[in-house]
Amino acid sequence: MGGNGVRHALRRPEFLRTALPWRAAGYLLVTGVSGVLLCVGLLLAVVVAGVLAVVLVGLPLLAALALSGVGYARWERWLLRLPDGTRVADPHHVPDRPGLSAWVRLRYREPATWRELGFTVLAAFLLWPVDLIVVACALGVPACLLAALPMLLLDGEQVHVLKLWEVHSPAVAGALGLAAPVLLALAAYPLTVVAAGRAALARLLLSPGGQELRIGELVSSRARLVDAFEAERRRIERDLHDGAQQRLVALSMTLGLARLDAPPGSPLAAQLTAAQRQAGEALAELRELINGIHPQVLTDRGLPDACADAADRSPVPVEVRFDLPGRLPPAVESAGYFAVCEALANVARHSGATAARVEGRYADGLLTIDVSDDGSGGADPAGGTGLTGLADRVAVVDGALTVDSPAGGPTLLRVEIPCTPLSPTRSA
């Protein structure tokens, strides 16, 4: 419920009959009480950590304290359902690797963590007194007025209402009792406003910022698409390999046997020979097709071997050199491989080069692949669709493509993709 929602709700005549004021009171009561507990807990933790810091043991504890906001914020986000029933999205990202250290590293880097810590400190030392005072006034005052008459009747002489007035007559006490519901109804308005304000503050600090929300969604949906695309490529490749390719081989074998049985030199033998040649051509085409979809060597051996294989097929002699710490994520290997293939195709088609070089290396979270040739240069990323397509392909995995190709050459094409090598156990 935003500010407009609250204003609208307060103006409606049936406001007092809705559950809204009661939910607001419940919200403030719970946040007030949890604020007190939080305050005590934080003070204790700070004192303990401070004392232990003298012997250095407390330093990690102090560091961990910075993450306390993450836990408390989760509770506050859950509580935000109380005043108006809306849910608040978690602003944090899911770590890309399992394990505590990956989680901690990610949390320290996220701005949301520090906003949450700020809110937690605010809740612990400023907000809870306000919460409790407002609830106490809104509910406590009418309750005392209501209690005046029964207490006077019990005591018989006099009763102190709110420690302010001495009331002796049952008539006055009765009037106060009648005034209580009116006061309660009036208090419902400021109570609801305060609760809504507090909820708005919590939502502002604890929900994903606009940028976080959008970029987070975009990045994860794009990553999902890339992975799905990659999986689909492999599925098609596998289906063709296990299906059509096997059948064609079996067909070719049957034709070959039939040819042995046919009388040598007969028209039948000639036809069988032709049929077998066609089957062979179909097999060769299918093999090229499958290799274009997803080469098996890329799955089996990774980028260096797959690029060496692509170099084998290039009409221009290509030297391939890679220095990688291990296997890279499939989407990265695939993007790198197809970039190299496209680059080598360009070298063969346009550059007039007599030699090319593919050099790959990995350092500081960045895979760099250089494809250079001794051709005539003049390659323009803005001009050719090939280079634009290549840049798009690399951009999908957050990579970048740069081309240095002065007229007269030589051309250097560089692909850079940020990534983390897979652990050796997965590549083995």
Partner: protein, 221 residues
């Protein structure tokens, strides 16, 4: 070269595609060979070889459970355990690195890397089977053709004719077969081979098969 009367071989076959497996068993049986075990994955291949000690292993590259190059890795591992075991790898891929792995295993003799397309050329296939079982080396002509398109060290020093001879050596041809193919005298072939071995820096040695070393050099280039 008609494989009319080959020595009957006891063969262990590893191929997960049922169609091809049954076809191969029939084909080999028709020409007098016996498939003593037909298996569908790498573990079963190891077990079958231990049980039957075959004359030849024929294996697919891609096999369960991983559906990656497990057949090839199993072949290399088998050759490490039993250096003399002849292994013929059937593949759908024209890949130098796969073929090079095979030749690198053991002393490089008694290995073959053939495209599955070649099975249909019954004569060629049976010749390859016999060659590998007899300790020869066979690399698929398609892989050889791809390699020939690249001209770099150390093959640069070879003349075009010598490269042709080397390519035929890689395909597992004997000197006699090479001189038939190129229509030259056997003495000329011997001279070419001598030049190739010299240019590739492979002096005569007791312990290594120089022909295999030359083919390996060719694959690595």
């Amino acid at each position: 070269m008609h494989p009319t009367e080959p020595d009957p071989l006891r063969i262990v076959l590893a191929e997960d595609g049922v169609l091809l497996r049954e076809g191969l068993i029939g084909l080999l049986a028709r020409f007098g060979h016996r498939v003593v075990a037909a298996v569908g994955d790498a573990d079963a291949l190891h077990a079958a070889v231990d049980t039957h000690t075959p004359d030849l292993v024929i294996t697919d590259v891609r096999m369960p459970p991983g559906q990656t190059d497990e057949g090839l890795r199993a072949a290399v591992a088998l050759r490490e355990r039993r250096p003399g075991l002849p292994v013929l790898v059937l593949s759908q891929y024209v890949q130098r690195s796969y073929a090079a792995d095979m030749l690198d295993s053991g002393d490089g003799s008694g290995v073959g890397y053939l495209l599955k397309d070649r099975i249909g050329q019954i004569d060629d296939f049976l010749t390859a089977v016999a060659t590998v079982a007899a300790g020869g080396t066979v690399v698929d002509p398609e892989v050889v053709r791809q390699l020939l398109r690249r001209r770099r060290d150390p093959l640069e020093r070879l003349t075009p004719r010598e490269r042709e001879v080397l390519a035929l050596m890689a395909e597992g041809r004997s000197n006699a077969a090479i001189c038939r193919e190129l229509v030259v005298s056997e003495a000329a072939v011997s001279k070419h081979i001598g030049n190739i071995l010299m240019k590739l820096d492979l002096p005569p040695a007791e312990e290594t098969h120089r022909r295999v070393m030359a083919v390996l050099e060719f694959l690595r280039a």
